[in-house]
């Protein structure tokens, strides 16, 4: 191989060789640099909490220091419980997710949209209700005692603006002024200053519920996609360049908030890159991770893949505490509700069922709880565009091996709608958050949810 060889062909050769581990490497001129993140030996270690082998490519010196530290810290603290927050964006229709099939009022308010009596499975805890046919996967988990339903969750005097109501849910209070998310404040209280993975937004953008005041949090599309390739840079110069990103992240900012944001992001990106190095595929053919169970195969929606990546990261022992992501689908169904709603709910429910099975297969199911929410439900009366307008109380779910599996609050019914014709709340989201903080995450809710004392805590765990 000539000294002036194209750096891509060398990188490719190395990456191919690693994929064919054990078969030896092509001859490389002594002194030639190795592309960062590519190692010559294959080393595996067992993430003790998971009992599952995670392959890490790289010699001891190349094993990311941060990963070891992160795992060490997480192990020292004992396996952390994880809360996964899944958002149905737009205000999902309660009266479709669990519908009062036999109620004549339902047929009257929803002459076009009412779901057929026979199409959905019966809901065992309230014989007035049936599951939306697209939520069969959730009904299955409910049958196993692994899903709790909140059939009327919200707050009194519901704001019908998407942005205001969503903000209330994200900050955990009916206040416009709070700028940190409720999970962000939890992380500010229990998190660590050098672990961006503790709060993980599985999105291309930060989920506001995770917005912290002090601690770093991260957002990624998937653990296997966090690389920083640069044309014409490799080897030790590439490693120095990536270190320099961290240096740019430590530059003084003179108190300028935008500069502080830019440097902070560079610092966190540099750290996160180290943490996720084991998940970045070594070539086009080798996946960054594999899953023990099948997930729904979708064309262009990343939701199942993100959950699969999350399970792999947890199995790898990465120190993750709170996760937030959007469910697939569009729930602001002012027009043409049936098709849009069914597609979104189906992919959401089937992906979450696969995620639960994945966690069970990996022995992680006792550590993870999923919360599904939306900013409000929809108006009881349909609007005539084959859709529904904004409403008040919505439907939420908790999923996990440890959840109690019993309804939280009751179905509010159609006979007692509020003055705007919306469902009334029978449980308060701040009470739910307080219970999640205290019973699941083991921290003081009063330090996180303003006025937490005022809200009754539902029993959420078995």
């Amino acid at each position: 191989m000539a000294r002036c060889c194209n750096d891509f062909s060398r990188t490719d050769a190395l990456r191919r060789a690693v994929a064919e581990a054990g078969r030896g490497l092509p001859a490389i001129e002594p002194g030639m640099p190795i592309p960062a993140g590519t190692g010559l030996t294959r080393r595996s270690f067992v993430a003790r909490s998971a009992g599952l082998a995670l392959a890490v490519y790289g010699g001891g010196a190349l094993l990311p220091r941060a990963l070891e530290e992160g795992i060490a810290a997480a192990e020292a603290a004992g396996p952390q419980r994880v809360l996964v927050s899944v958002f149905l964006d737009g205000g999902a229709d309660s009266l479709s997710m669990l519908y009062p099939s036999g109620d004549p009022l339902y047929r009257k308010l929803r002459p076009k949209l009412a779901l057929p009596e026979s199409s959905g499975l019966a809901f065992a805890e309230d014989d007035r209700l049936r599951w939306h046919p697209s939520l069969a996967a959730l009904a299955q988990l409910h049958g196993e005692g692994k899903t709790s339903v909140l059939p009327g969750v919200g707050y009194t005097g519901a704001d019908q603006s998407h942005f205001t109501s969503r903000h209330y849910w994200e900050v955990g209070a009916t206040s416009e002024r709070i700028t940190t998310g409720w999970l962000g404040r939890y992380l500010d209280r229990v998190g660590s200053p050098d672990n961006p993975l503790q709060g993980l937004s599985l999105e291309s953008r930060l989920q506001p519920a995770l917005a912290t005041a002090r601690m770093p949090v991260s957002s990624i599309d998937g653990p296997d996609r966090y690389d920083f390739w640069t044309r014409g840079v490799w080897g030790e110069v590439e490693r120095r360049m990536l270190d320099a990103v961290g240096s740019l992240g430590r530059l003084p900012t003179g108190g300028d908030p935008a500069l502080a944001q830019a440097t902070g992001t560079a610092r966190q990106a540099a750290r996160l890159r180290e943490q996720l190095l084991p998940f970045v595929p070594k070539n086009d053919k080798s996946p960054g991770f594999t899953s023990p169970v099948p997930y729904p195969d979708t064309g262009d929606d990343d939701f199942p893949r993100r959950l699969a990546g999350l399970a792999a990261m947890l199995a790898g022992g990465l120190p993750i505490r709170a996760v937030a992501l959007n469910a697939p689908g569009m729930y602001d169904t002012h027009d043409d509700q049936p098709g849009e709603l069914a597609a979104g709910l189906k992919l959401t429910a089937e992906s979450l069922l696969a995620f639960q099975r994945d966690l069970e297969a990996r022995g992680l199911a006792d550590r993870v709880l999923v919360h599904i929410w939306s900013e409000f439900g929809r108006r009881a009366k349909e609007n005539g565009s084959n859709g529904t307008d904004h409403g008040a109380a919505g439907t939420g779910f908790l999923i996990g091996s440890r959840v109690r599996g019993k309804m939280i609050g009751e179905f509010p019914g159609l006979a007692t709608l509020d003055k705007d014709g919306n469902l009334r709340a029978t449980s308060d989201f701040r009470g739910l958050y307080s219970a999640l903080l205290e019973d699941w995450l083991g921290t003081d809710a009063e330090a996180i949810i303003p006025g937490a004392k005022r809200f009754a805590r539902p029993a959420i765990l078995r």
Partner: protein
Amino acid sequence: MKEMPAAVYKGPFAREQAERLLWRAGFGPRRGEAEALAKLGLDGAVRKLTRPRAERFVGAAPHDDKGRALAPTDAGGHDHIWWLDRMVRTSRPLVERLTLVWHDWFATSLAGVGSQKLMLNQNKLLRSRSLGSFETMLRDISRDPAMLLWLSGTENTKWSPNENYARELMELFTLGAGSGYSERDVREQARALTGFDSDWRRGVGPHNFRFEPKRHDSGTKRIFGRTGTFNWEDAVRLCLRHPAHPRFFVQKLWGYFVPTALDGSTRRSLESLYRRDLQIRPVVEAILRHPALYTGPRMVKPPVVYTAGLLRGMGRGIDTTSWAWISGMAGQRLFMPPNVAGWDDERWLDTATFRGRWTTANQAARAFSVTDKQAGSISGDPQKLVAAAIAFWGSPTIRPHTRDALLEFARRAMQDANQSWKRKSYPVLVTNALRQLVAVSPDLQTS
């Protein structure tokens, strides 16, 4: 009531100030543009932006990766790069920047409209009204086909009112949440806004958008405490005459140009300028002349502004469609805002969008990346390597601390060159790495 005029910046107006103005009111300077603008002084520079001559396009026409002309109304992603090209090549950067502001203000998404042609028609509307009357703009946007599809306007009939547009008209476009309207006003406005219709035909999609009197609810409505048989034009006018509107308008517009809160006296001055006849230009001029823009803190550049600015600085045109998906990674795919509230300007930067910006910088520079073939012409002196990497992007202002960090990287990397092949190759690798580091530095992410 007579208000004092808003404060005007009185400090030096040199290259640095002109550079900031070009970033805030446009997409950053081309080579030499900041110096030329600085010579005009503050007033001359602001007028050049707000009262531009006829539009010219500078540089080569855009094309896709195979050299073909763009098909912005048809081909996926071409809508994005068609507009990005205007941002890069226009001689009227403020008009283009304001078009982006109005796209965010009246955030309409291709995801709900389903027609690039209708999205581009709306884009043309926003551009043509960008510095004119907000009343005309709001009237036009209220019957714009893309908006009628996006917020259910053509679904809103007297038999079954749909509140979608009525609510956002008040909450996001004119008054602000919780500003002097009730749920009843939302319902009554929805009735006033009934009557729009369109046809649909296979192969054509929605077309023939029109007002259809028989679909309109001509009954009496009560809106903001007034009673009348209001129609869509009244709905628009009632919002614009609502006492909460001027304040909402100037505060929201200010926020696109200046990151600090609008103080009470400036706000009142801007409101008074705006109230005269609801014109946009005088308010923008007052904001661009205000001291807070020049002496206040920096702003994070929106992703497309960052991208267009890199291309303007290096003098590269649009020659790839990759910008559409890369911009999406950085958090801003044009014509696809996340929702009707637009993009969140407080949260452009996180670890995912940082990687998008990294990819942006790599995409911009990779066509020019140097190889061992050029090794003979590149000096190994760290100082010179850093200076050349900054010049590559059109010589943006870099703070001394940042320059020191770049220099430190170059020095260490060159110290590693302890073999003959490394001494030859490392200036090449370091050149490519420094270009990348300059582009992702906090200095270039903000203005």
